[in-house]
């Protein structure tokens, strides 16, 4: 019995986690169930019977010794841990009687999740800013414009992500 798996590449920004969850659910409804997640937006799916699996994403950083506690809590509550991509954890649970299960049950804890993501981005932003002088004013090689272009895109996407996450938090606080 040959296992039927497919690989898909799809890019999501950090504030699009709910779109990502919806996409994974629609894949499961078509009979493609998430098998694993890899770096840079690579998803592996396995074919099977159509299930109404609900996927939920958490952004969580913890010390290695706390991993067991974290995963135990989710598995006790009936959530299957599919895997993680950087610090994004992918969980799955079957929807029952049209009720969609949630891992975050109040807006405050959702805000806290985006704040954890923001902390990571802020750390990244500090590193980016600290090398800005070297990137823009040193290294007069002819090919250096490539590095500058990459640097510019990276900086722009980090700033954009920070703004988008802040707006998402503001929206949640109004609920």
């Amino acid at each position: 019995m040959a296992e039927n798996t497919i690989r898909k590449f799809r890019w999501f920004w950090p504030w699009q986690d709910e779109q990502e969850e919806a996409w994974l659910r629609s894949m499961s409804q078509k009979g493609w169930h998430l098998l694993s997640v890899g770096l840079a937006g690579i998803y592996r799916f396995k074919s099977g019977e159509s299930h109404d699996y609900v996927y939920r994403l958490d952004y969580q950083t913890y010390k290695k010794k706390d991993e067991q506690d974290y995963l135990q809590l989710f598995s006790d509550a009936g959530w299957e841990h599919i895997g993680y991509m950087s610090s994004w954890h992918y969980f799955r649970k079957e929807a029952k009687e049209g009720e969609l299960p949630e891992i975050f049950t109040d807006p405050e804890s959702k805000v806290a999740k985006y704040k954890r993501g923001l902390t990571y981005l802020a750390f990244f932003a500090v590193i980016i800013i600290s090398v800005s002088h070297s990137v823009w004013f040193k290294y007069p090689y002819s090919w250096w414009f490539v590095v500058r272009a990459i640097y510019f895109l990276l900086t722009a996407s980090i700033i954009y992500s920070i703004i988008k996450l802040l707006l998402r938090i503001r929206h949640l606080r109004r609920i």
Binding site: Q68, L73, F74, E102, I103, D106
Partner: protein, 111 residues
């Protein structure tokens, strides 16, 4: 000084209030989720993401502490500081409830 420290945690969110209420005696995560749903008569549900976040921040603030581990599940209990915070929250809620109940004719209007 100490009072100020306590007030900075108040008011608690509804989830945090119920989580702390279940931790007067040591309890592990899954039992907390079940007990919150039970004692709140289903009005409050705590998902694992919300609970893990609450455990992490309450432990960091010194309001709860890990006590034991059985079957790979860690139990938490309120610290004396956590008890003070919870008591103060309950007092606030009592004032809120009394104020609500004292509004004349409000409940007569309730269809």
């Amino acid at each position: 000084m100490v009072r100020n420290d306590i007030n900075k945690y108040l008011p608690l969110t509804e989830s945090t209030y119920y989580i702390m209420l279940t931790l007067v005696d040591p309890l592990h995560g899954y039992a907390v989720m079940q007990k919150v749903e039970e004692i709140s008569k289903g009005t409050v549900r705590v998902g694992p993401g919300t609970l893990y976040g609450a455990f992490t921040s309450l432990e960091k603030e010194g309001l709860i502490v890990k006590v034991k581990e059985d079957n790979r599940r860690k139990s938490y209990v309120l610290t004396p500081e956590g008890q003070k915070v919870l008591i103060n929250q309950i007092k606030r809620l009592e004032i809120m409830t009394r104020n609500g109940l004292s509004v004349k004719n409000l409940f007569d209007l309730d269809p």
